[in-house]
């Protein structure tokens, strides 16, 4: 019988087994991937300030305690809002889904927290949420966010992955200098809602403290 040949040729046997098994994978993964991995039509890429905040989210390892993925369970949508769709992550590089919820999910935190809440909370979390074990992030009020790298990232993903940033995103210093006031204007909007005079002063001087970028990013999570 035909399988006698297969039994004597383990290599081809293994190849055939792989083909048979991966068939199920192809059937389940490929159609769904083609549909669901596209960005939602309402999805816009993050602004440069928000990107700088995202980089801080990565740098300070927020992902170790916070997820960004609301599963379609009533208990989750009651607390965090609508369940997450894969198209919402299309512009995320890297994905920040997370797998551990020591703290709450943050995927729609922009819907139910405000700039001034984040400001108070980052300074001293247990004062706002009794029993919270989140550490304070006071350094964010003095350290400056790297908006230049964030701009470079925007240009890179635009060129490499066709992320829809406008034509003004170019790989030149002049383009960055032209875009910089927009970032500062976004930062000023956040700083206006904040109480810290030092932060307001820094933004007025053309600097962007980390906390401003971080809050811009958190507010953009909707």
């Amino acid at each position: 019988m035909f399988f006698h040949w297969l039994e004597k040729n383990p290599f081809y046997f293994a190849v055939l087994i792989s083909i048979v098994i991966s068939f199920a994978g192809l059937l389940e993964i490929v159609p769904n991937f083609a549909q669901a991995a596209r960005p939602l039509t309402t999805e816009t890429p993050k602004t440069v300030l928000e990107l700088a905040g995202k980089n801080l989210y990565v740098k300070d390892n927020c992902i170790a305690c916070h997820s960004q993925m609301i599963r379609p369970f009533k208990s989750e949508t009651d607390r965090y809002g609508k369940y997450s769709l894969s198209g919402e992550y299309a512009y995320d590089r890297p994905f920040l889904w997370g797998s551990k919820r020591t703290g709450p999910d943050l995927h729609r935190v922009g819907n139910y927290r405000t700039t001034d809440w984040h400001e108070n909370h980052m300074l001293n979390p247990p004062a706002i949420v009794p029993g919270s074990i989140m550490p304070a992030y006071k350094h964010m009020f003095t350290n400056l966010a790297d908006i230049e790298t964030a701009y470079a990232e925007a240009v890179t993903v635009k060129n490499a992955f066709f992320t829809p940033y406008g034509p003004e995103f170019k790989k030149t210093r002049a383009a960055w200098e032209a875009h910089r006031p927009k970032v500062l204007a976004d930062a000023k909007k956040i700083a206006d809602d904040m109480k810290s005079e030092d932060v307001k002063k820094a933004v007025a001087n053309g600097q962007v403290p980390e906390i401003v970028a971080m809050i811009a990013y958190l507010n953009s999570l909707k």
């Binding site: 139910y112 927290r113 001034d116 809440w117």
Partner: protein, 295 residues
């Protein structure tokens, strides 16, 4: 009954006694049904294990192989042409039919979705929830409001509702003097009341101070003369003209609904809209709870 059976029965008895001893020493309540079932299960496992072992060990002593040897052999290990044991065959057929049913009828591959299941669950929950709490008593509503408050409101307004010493609106009183002065100075058009916008600068100087002190004090005693400017919209009793404008005395359902739907930005900071997070019954519940903590 041979020696092996006796040994096996002895072993089973030993297992059962050991289990009972452990259960007794752990002070487990056997009148509880779940514990009793677990205990029965443990005894059953001991008995079944022992008897199965006895059956096959006895069988191995005398059993001989039946059926023809097939031609192929692997390193001297051959195979006989026996039928599949009937139990296996039926189990295999059963699995086959069950998987056909599962994939084509029960949970069709192209028709099931996680989101669909979620939607059905939410619709079913909403229906029973709304029916159950349609005419809920004030105590039930206050209890519901309390748990909602701790999930959605307490992160900003604090567990006691005091607004965490000025970091959010203090829900134990209606408004502070600074808040009233801010609204008088800047006007307000955020809550979407039918009366519409409150213009900026309705009063100023000492008049504004008097009004703010009067409202922050809970509208007790004689109203200052300048307060007449407020009553024309907020009503003679300051309770908001039956829902036309915000109630200045306390928290009523209209005020809660408008604030939760629209959010608000004031002198303290911003409150986002909770439009998608809170249902009408939950708004009623939150009103009941907030009224219960307001002084």
């Amino acid at each position: 009954m041979n020696a092996l059976t006796i040994k096996a029965l002895g072993f089973a008895a030993l297992l059962i006694i050991a289990t009972i001893w452990v259960v007794m020493s752990m002070d487990i309540d056997l009148t509880d049904r779940v514990n009793a079932i677990a205990m029965g299960g443990a005894i059953a496992i001991a008995v079944i294990t022992s008897s199965v072992v006895v059956k096959y060990v006895n069988q191995m002593k005398t059993d001989t192989a039946t059926g023809e040897l097939v031609d192929e052999n692997w390193d001297g290990i051959g195979e006989r042409t026996n039928e599949l044991p009937s139990g296996w065959a039926y189990a295999f057929l059963g699995t086959f039919f069950w998987s056909m049913w599962y994939g084509l009828i029960g949970y069709p591959v192209d028709q099931y979705s996680q989101i669909g299941e979620y939607n059905e669950e939410v619709i079913a929950h909403k229906a029973t929830y709304e029916k159950k709490y349609e005419n809920a008593s004030p105590e039930v509503l206050t209890g519901m409001g309390k748990s909602l408050y701790f999930v959605q409101c307490a992160p900003c307004h604090g567990n006691t509702g005091d607004g965490l010493s000025g970091k959010a609106h203090d829900l134990t009183t209606r408004m502070s003097k600074a808040q009233v002065l801010d609204v008088i100075k800047n006007g307000s058009n955020q809550l979407g009341y039918p009366m519409g916008m409150m213009p900026a600068g309705m009063a100023s100087g000492q008049d504004a101070e008097d009004i703010a002190t009067y409202i922050a004090g809970g509208l007790k005693g004689e109203a200052p003369a300048s307060y007449a400017a407020c009553t024309s919209c907020h009503g003679a009793d300051s309770k908001g003209n039956s829902g036309m404008s915000p109630n200045l005395v306390g928290y009523d359902e209209t005020l809660l609904t408008h604030t939760l739907q629209n959010g608000k930005k004031g002198i303290i900071g911003g409150m986002p809209s909770f439009k998608t997070m809170i249902t009408p019954i939950q708004e009623k519940a939150l009103t009941a709870y907030i009224q219960s903590i307001a002084q």
